[in-house]
Symmetry: C2
Subunit: 631 residues, 2 copies
């Protein structure tokens, strides 16, 4: 009964937090409040830091965050006063959760993403559990909306496939969405659907703390299946608009909140908690802390018991490994080059994980001498996720959030579109995830328009915090990995399908753009990836008529960060650009007429014809350049 | 037995077509060939034209197209000689199907899309069936890969919800994907999963024409559920690598094909068919044609029997409706303006369909006086798809492919990322779909980083064939719809959440960019959407110090199409740009220092603070402009 009262106080606190902000989502605070309360006071072992041993929790229905914030404040993860800054400019308690807040393990908001993040965390745990005896659960709260999203459905299938028994989905089933009743937009039998995906399914009243407690305890016992607890709840519970979608984005007035306070028979101060509640929360937190510290102690004992294990663990945590950039003259595609670099790194770096959406045979993004990760083989480094690009990206984010791994995932460049929301979330959280995309030029495949990337490279480049690297050879590929390890930020790699000439190691290779030739030139040609070799041909064709330098541009974003002096050194001549993309970002450096880009969809055909069709034929380009210069 | 032989000849023909192309996907040709054969020779009523009465067929596993092409050629939808141009430059028979080929109802390739397209077609049929007694089935072939994709899972839930009983999914379950066994990446119980989504589930041997025939006949009888026929098949059947993923992208050699020909005991010529097969196919086609013509006749009789119905039907088909652009001085958001225009159009245009991913209360993209579409009310014009943005986009594409409707769908601009692959497909097929996105400026919501669009506007603008329109007022909104109806091509609409001043009707409003003021100015300020009113403020603040004109830019793509003379008239002064986007496409018109764009992720806060944070405060901008001009 005491807990019921405390949970009610916290719900009132959340409603007042929303009222104070002037906007927010009260409905789900009232539907999932008791579940969050029970989880945080009885099960979720954490100390609010980023400790590797903590249980993870992802609020995939991020809009319910006011409820979570109030509990975190009540448990003194941060000062209760901070709730007054909810949704305010410069406050940490943003409208949807972000990871700089103690107790928040993933930024959420776009529905479904959090589910896949949590699956990624559970995969990470399963591996570290096998290697280092790490032992924690990953909880994820979802609403009805999250489970309509394809990315969630993809991720849950993967959780079932890999028997992630420490993954526990807390499903706040209030049967209402923003626009109306859930039955207006869904008739799925969710119990059956979860069973079909190999879940341990538990149903429970989501407003009874004792029952919630028992359900979570049962879920924790699952041995070879992930669990879902379907909590039957009421949106906007105990208010006049209980059970209605009107409560979804409702800001309850002080009067309405007061009415609820009276109905609950509680006397907490406005935007505060009663002394009794504070005391109860403190004592519950103390218990959690004690259990958590025991877990950490056990873990430390295990690790420190074996020097080899300790050394390996520190390597996992610190990622302090090396690899060598090697010069190469052999013709090869950059997807092959990437495979070489990746496998070179994998030799010393055992925490490399490679996710593939069923195209690893073609992207060549895989660890050659490792088996697949599976329920039976947690140490496999290649993780098959099926043709589920979106979940792949969000799972990679989850693995990065968990920590302890270097994670990369791959598909064709054109299919980066399928994972765009996940790539954006990597940008938002600034996660060190490497997204590798092959088949990156318009003339590289006879597969036709749907398989030919046009706008993708630039769509990725304009995502804030994203670095896109488009290497032209093995050395640039290796340099990309050096940059990735240095920056520890999200990166997209654009790889060629076709063979390209090898180039030596150049000075300034790490500066995003650099001179490959250093003539007293009349023009400079910027190019990246496969088009660098075209630019080199153009330069040779022009010889005698016009002296050209070639600038390889592995990354516009990195080039952007260089000094003005360095940039001017390169940009002090008429600039031409050859790149298989829309090239919008190059408009900074030159005019449209000097850019050989692509703005139309691709067509089927062979490389020679496609190069002519799109104007990537060196002779055609050389001729055009001469015409423009003569003008 | 004769059909078995003919089907085998067609499979051989497909393998030879792939061999001739030098690339392609033979494995699935051999696994789904008999299913396609049975469907096309016994069930699919069509004459290869775009007739409204034809059964629709979508090959969602588009890579299996060589098998489909060979059947279409055999049935003389096009000349068999054309198979020699498969995957060749300038050929119609591209690596994945495109809609300019007779018999192809949707371009496919990116897995999962086709499923949602087909669901869209079935929704369209259900409405036209109610209104006009239209009566056809929509078939969709999928492989295991399609059913891993989230977009397919989303769409199938919707098919179950809306009891689309004329939707028949033909599932070529060969249990193999490109990278390996299906069991490596999926452990879902598909029968249970389909039952959970309210499907009529039929299982069948996918290599027995009689059984396939019966299974399809049974599916056609379903009264209140969509059907899935799970065909158990063998990839690469009857070859040395049958059942292996090695057959997926395999090009069988002439020798291997010959071996199979001998094993099949058939004597068809290379890249051809035996006389017996040709004859059989002709007679089967004749039967199909007869049934199809009967159906058309029945439909025409029904339509012509009632003058009112005929008139309405012609209106549906021709989309020749009118609405009035009305001047407006009242402050309103463009999401409200869009609602007004949309509902104005809806008064005379009964074939308007509005899909919403559960945000219609907020985007205001809805027909105010219409109920929701449902299994019980096929005439509802608002179609709830749940929080399934990706399927929404692909279903909208399917409705547009079906014909007879004007279709629009909506969510927040930032979530356009979720539907990017569908938007791209609309671009590829040049479909008249209106994608409406609200909450389009960085300072419009306290919801935080995940809900604030930054890169989305430009990500959409660089998709080939896409027109992005960002109206600043009611009149520009109305003009956008005029443009949409004229162009009959895909369009994205970017709408404001907050109130904006009303502006009168201007000359050249349809030219993508036009002068809103016409002073003898020293500078011109380009702006769009919500930022037009900021530009107007800036102009006023500058008065006395610097004379500025304001150019409203509802669409860069439309402006791009104007004459040089018109463009020069606008661009003949120093150009400044104010727009809540990365503004990369504006780099064509001016230099970076004169652009007030946004390149970082958003933060939570109120409008005033956010405007200051991102530099969209009129005073700050005016000051900066003066500084730049003085330099």
């Amino acid at each position: 009964m005491l807990d019921k009262m405390v949970s009610r106080e916290l719900k009132i606190l959340a409603l007042e937090t929303i009222n104070n902000a002037g906007s927010g989502h009260s409905g789900s605070v009232l539907s999932c409040g008791d579940i969050l309360y029970t989880l945080y006071t009885r099960h979720l072992l954490s100390n609010g830091t980023k400790s590797m041993n903590r249980d993870r929790f992802v609020l995939s229905n991020g809009h319910a965050c006011a409820g979570l914030y109030s509990i975190l404040a009540g448990l003194q993860y941060f000062d209760i006063e901070e709730l007054k800054l909810f949704r305010k400019y410069n406050g940490r308690l943003t409208g949807h959760p972000e990871i700089d807040v103690p107790g928040i393990d993933a930024a959420t908001g776009p529905l479904g993403q959090g589910v896949a993040n949590a699956v990624g965390m559970a995969i990470a745990e399963s591996i570290m559990s096998q290697r280092f005896n790490l032992n924690h659960h990953t909880y994820c709260m979802v609403g009805d909306g999250c489970l309509q999203e394809g990315v969630a459905m993809e991720a849950l299938s993967i959780a079932g496939l890999y028997k992630l028994n420490k993954f526990i989905l807390l499903y706040d089933k209030n049967d209402v969405t923003l626009d109306g009743k859930l039955s207006d937009s869904s008739s799925d039998n969710m119990v059956r659907k979860f069973i079909a995906m190999n879940f341990n399914v538990i149903e429970c009243n989501g407003h009874n703390i004792r029952m919630i407690d028992e359900a979570i305890a049962r879920a924790k016992q699952s041995k070879d299946k992930p669990s879902v607890i379907i909590f039957h709840t009421i949106i906007g519970k105990d208010t006049d608009i209980a059970g209605s979608n009107k409560s979804h984005g409702k800001v309850y007035s002080a009067q309405e909140i007061d009415k609820l306070r009276k109905y609950y028979k509680i006397n907490s101060p406005v935007m505060g908690l009663s002394e009794q509640a504070k005391e109860r929360l403190l004592s519950l937190r103390a218990k959690i802390t004690q259990k958590f510290e025991e877990r950490v102690q056990n873990f430390n004992n295990f690790i420190k018991n074996d020097e080899k294990i300790e050394k390996l663990y520190l390597k996992f945590i610190n990622n302090d490994f090396k690899f060598k950039i090697r010069s190469n003259k052999k013709d090869m595609s950059t997807r092959e080059a990437n495979n070489i670099v990746l496998n070179d790194i994998a030799k010393t770096q055992e925490n490399l994980l490679v996710l593939s959406a069923d195209l690893s045979s073609s992207t060549k993004v895989k660890i050659n001498d490792s088996n697949n990760y599976s329920a039976k083989n947690r140490l496999g480094k290649n993780i098959a996720v099926g043709i589920r690009e979106h979940a792949m990206g969000a799972i990679a984010n989850g693995i990065a959030l968990h920590g302890g791994f270097v994670v990369t995932c791959s598909t064709f460049l054109t299919f980066s579109n399928y994972m765009m929301p996940a790539i954006r979330m990597a940008g938002i959280m600034n996660l060190p995830v490497l997204f590798a995309f092959s088949h990156s030029s318009v003339y590289e495949t006879p597969d036709g328009v749907t398989h030919i990337p046009v706008e993708q490279l630039d769509q990725l480049r304009i995502i804030p915090n994203m670095t896109v690297v488009r290497p032209c050879c093995l050395n640039e590929c290796a340099a990309a990995y050096e940059t990735f390890f240095k920056r520890k930020r999200p990166m997209c790699l654009s790889l060629s399908r076709g063979d390209l000439p090898g180039y030596p190691i150049y000075e300034n290779m790490d500066k995003g753009a650099y001179l490959m030739t250093n003539n007293k030139a009349e023009i400079n040609i910027m190019a990246s990836g496969s088009e660098v070799s075209i630019a080199m041909q153009v330069k040779d064709i022009l010889k005698g008529k016009l002296i050209a330098n070639v600038i390889s541009v592995p990354s516009l974003e990195i080039f952007d960060e260089q000094t003005k002096a360095y940039k001017n050194k390169i940009l002090n001549k008429p600039i031409f650009v050859i790149e298989s993309s829309t090239c919008v970002k190059y408009l900074k450096y030159t005019t449209e007429d000097k850019i050989f880009n692509v703005c139309d969809f691709g067509v089927s055909g062979d490389e020679i014809n496609l190069k002519k069709h799109f104007g990537y034929d060196a002779n055609i380009i050389a001729e055009k350049i001469l015409k423009i210069i003569k003008k």
